[in-house]
């Protein structure tokens, strides 16, 4: 077995205890939620006997660690339980709402990269100048803005004052029909159906929440780009390339930038994680029907299966993403696995 495939296997093995820990924590957290789900299920008119019956049916009368094994067994079959509020299985609720959250997060990250990476390169090529200082203040201001506040200010300016944005209520204005379901991403589905009017409608709804999230994620990406560019620009191979008489554009983009991209990609994994967290707030502000607003609604009524499903889905998504990034890193970077 080559050193590289051994490394990849090792990385996958590392993820296993983390996944187990995630399952344990999400189980414990939701069992500690206040309120008795059996009483909730039984309804307000139920007597002691029927509540006890339901408690038995739900397995809530068993000792905690036995409940845990039942839970893991259900999980292995892909059964996350049934939401108390929507009456659907948590799995189908999450599956229906996940594309909305992912579409928002991905568009925000794309937007953020499109601004932050050039900004970082610009700052790195002029360190210590006013451009550099301005970049620093700008991105620090961006990361200091509470996402829920940015969202509200954007709504005030672009919806109330300028009247440019549609009302901040969900993914699509009620005058449009949602596009036929293929991927669940409205932009892709509408484009596939060739329905450009709906496509623009969905885009208009998406711009403000995506900008809100993008502002928040500018800082880590811009800073990482700047740091990686600075270290690439001061390395020997750049000096050699300059000494060999290569043009500055070729040196900057052909050599320095390509080498600086690797750490930036790694940072993106971390940024994705806290964008998922920030999503909860942004979805609440814009009434976006994603999994974040689902979780907030579930928390309020102690709907433990739904909360558990959400926390678990978020954590597993993140573990998987980091795994993929690390493996991609090992495949791309020729230096890894050689020694």
């Amino acid at each position: 077995m080559s050193a590289r495939s051994k490394m990849i296997l090792g990385r996958v093995a590392q993820a296993i205890p983390v996944v187990m820990g995630v399952v344990v924590i999400s189980f414990l957290l939701t069992r500690a939620l206040p309120g008795d789900p059996a009483a909730y299920f039984a309804g307000p008119a139920a007597d002691e006997a029927s509540i006890a019956e339901i408690r038995e049916a739900l397995g809530l009368d068993k000792p905690l660690f036995q409940q845990f094994f039942l839970y893991v067994g259900d999980l292995a079959r892909g059964d996350l339980g049934t939401s108390l509020t929507t009456g659907q299985t948590v799995m189908s609720d999450l599956a229906a709402r996940l594309p909305a959250s992912l579409e928002l997060t991905l568009v925000a990250l794309l937007l953020s990269c499109a601004i932050a990476i050039p900004l970082g390169v610009l700052a790195a090529t002029r360190p210590g100048t006013w451009v550099d200082h301005m970049c620093r203040v700008l991105v620090t201001a961006g990361v200091s803005m509470p996402t829920f506040f940015t969202g509200i200010v954007l709504i005030y300016v672009f919806y109330y004052l300028a009247g440019l944005a549609p009302s901040p209520l969900g993914r699509l204005d009620f005058i449009y029909l949602s596009p036929p379901h293929v991927t669940g991403f409205y932009l892709i589905d509408a484009a596939l159906a060739g329905d450009w009017e709906t496509w623009f409608g969905a885009l208009k709804q998406l711009i403000l929440p995506a900008t809100t999230l993008a502002l928040f994620t500018l800082a880590p990406i811009a800073r990482m780009t700047r740091a990686a560019m600075l270290s690439a620009l001061s390395s020997d191979f750049i000096r050699t390339a300059r000494a060999a008489g290569l043009g500055s554009r070729k040196v900057l983009y052909g050599y320095a930038f390509r080498n600086a991209l690797l750490p930036v990609v790694t940072t993106l994994g971390m940024v994705f994680s806290f964008t998922l967290g920030a999503n909860v707030l942004v979805e609440k502000v814009f009434a976006w029907p994603g999994i974040g607003s689902y979780a907030v609604e579930a928390l309020v009524v102690s709907d433990y299966a739904a909360v558990q499903g959400f926390v678990l889905a978020m954590a597993l998504l993140f573990v998987a993403l980091n795994l993929v990034i690390d493996i991609a890193y090992a495949l791309i970077d020729p230096r890894i696995g050689l020694n």
Partner: protein, 293 residues
């Protein structure tokens, strides 16, 4: 003849203070951050005594007034003075973040020192536990913790502390680990100091400068976190003045044009976080100029 006996004046930047002055002069932004920090501390300490109105007093006849000389930041839907509420909230928000960061600083330092100094299975177990915490989107974990423990200010502090522990534990672990067999540590042990004493008095202080940077950045982050939790209705309950709740309450009026309800508390929140972030950057320049990003 040149007088060779006069001693060379110490070059600027040789002393710690000189270095700090040099870095600050080069970086006016950090100076601004220190001034803003002083302002917020002043608000937290003296604010409740100085504000013109009682932050909880309602006045139905003057509800939803735009900013004026009487009410600098306007009034809310119950006629409460927004300016007074914003200033009074400073103390609660700063207390939450300072308490949370102090907790995670202490717990993270102890865990990280033990893991870094003794290593072995303790280290391995701790690392897996920290990985597990970091596997959650941190805001989501904080939401879960507050919901599970109950809806109080203390629980916001605990939740914020828990999600910050990994950062401190990892930092201290790395700093302790590289020094556990260093010459000065071995000399201290040979001189008869116990392991615990060597760790606490000789090795741990070396980790303090990078930790100060982390503390400053985390303070801002903790405020954001606490405000975010109260924004979605966890933790601080109305009518307590708190920036996150005030933004949440003001959000309902923004679509009808009463912007001052949400904008001023939000702006204050943002300024506070901005201050701590700038301060963290500035401290990093002082502690380790190479790490500036």
């Amino acid at each position: 003849m040149v007088d060779m006996t006069t001693s060379q004046p110490a070059r600027k930047g040789d002393t710690t203070l000189g270095h700090i002055a040099y870095v600050l002069k080069d970086n006016p932004v950090t100076m601004l951050a220190f001034a803003m920090l002083a302002f917020f501390l002043g608000c937290a300490v003296f604010g409740p005594a100085l504000v013109p109105y009682d932050p909880l007093a309602t006045n139905a006849s003057r509800a939803l007034e735009a900013p004026s000389w009487d009410h600098w930041f306007g009034t809310d839907n119950l006629g409460r003075d927004v300016f007074s509420r914003v200033i009074v909230a400073t103390r609660l928000d700063l207390t939450i973040s300072v308490a949370a960061v102090a907790l995670s600083f202490v717990i993270g330092s102890v865990l990280g020192s033990i893991a870094g100094y003794w290593g072995g299975w303790i280290d391995a177990v701790l690392n897996r536990c920290l990985d597990t915490i970091m596997a959650f989107p941190l805001f989501v974990l904080a939401m879960g913790v507050v919901a599970a423990l109950g809806n109080t200010v203390e629980n916001i502090i605990y939740a914020t502390a828990i999600i910050n522990i990994p950062f401190y534990a990892r930092l201290v672990r790395a700093e302790v680990n590289i020094r556990r067999n260093a010459g000065f540590a071995q000399a201290a042990k040979l001189a008869g100091n116990s392991d615990l004493r060597v760790l606490a008095v000789h090795i741990f202080p070396n980790a303090l400068p990078p930790m100060m940077v982390q503390v400053s950045l985390n303070l801002g982050w903790a405020i954001l976190n606490a405000a975010g939790l109260s924004f979605i209705g966890l933790g601080v309950r109305p009518p307590t003045p708190e920036w996150g709740i005030m933004v949440a309450e003001g959000a309902n009026f923004i679509v009808s044009g009463e912007w001052w309800l949400a904008v001023f508390p939000g702006l204050w929140l943002m300024l506070a976080v901005f201050t701590f972030n700038l301060l963290g950057d500035g401290l990093r320049d002082i502690v380790d100029p190479r790490k500036r990003t």
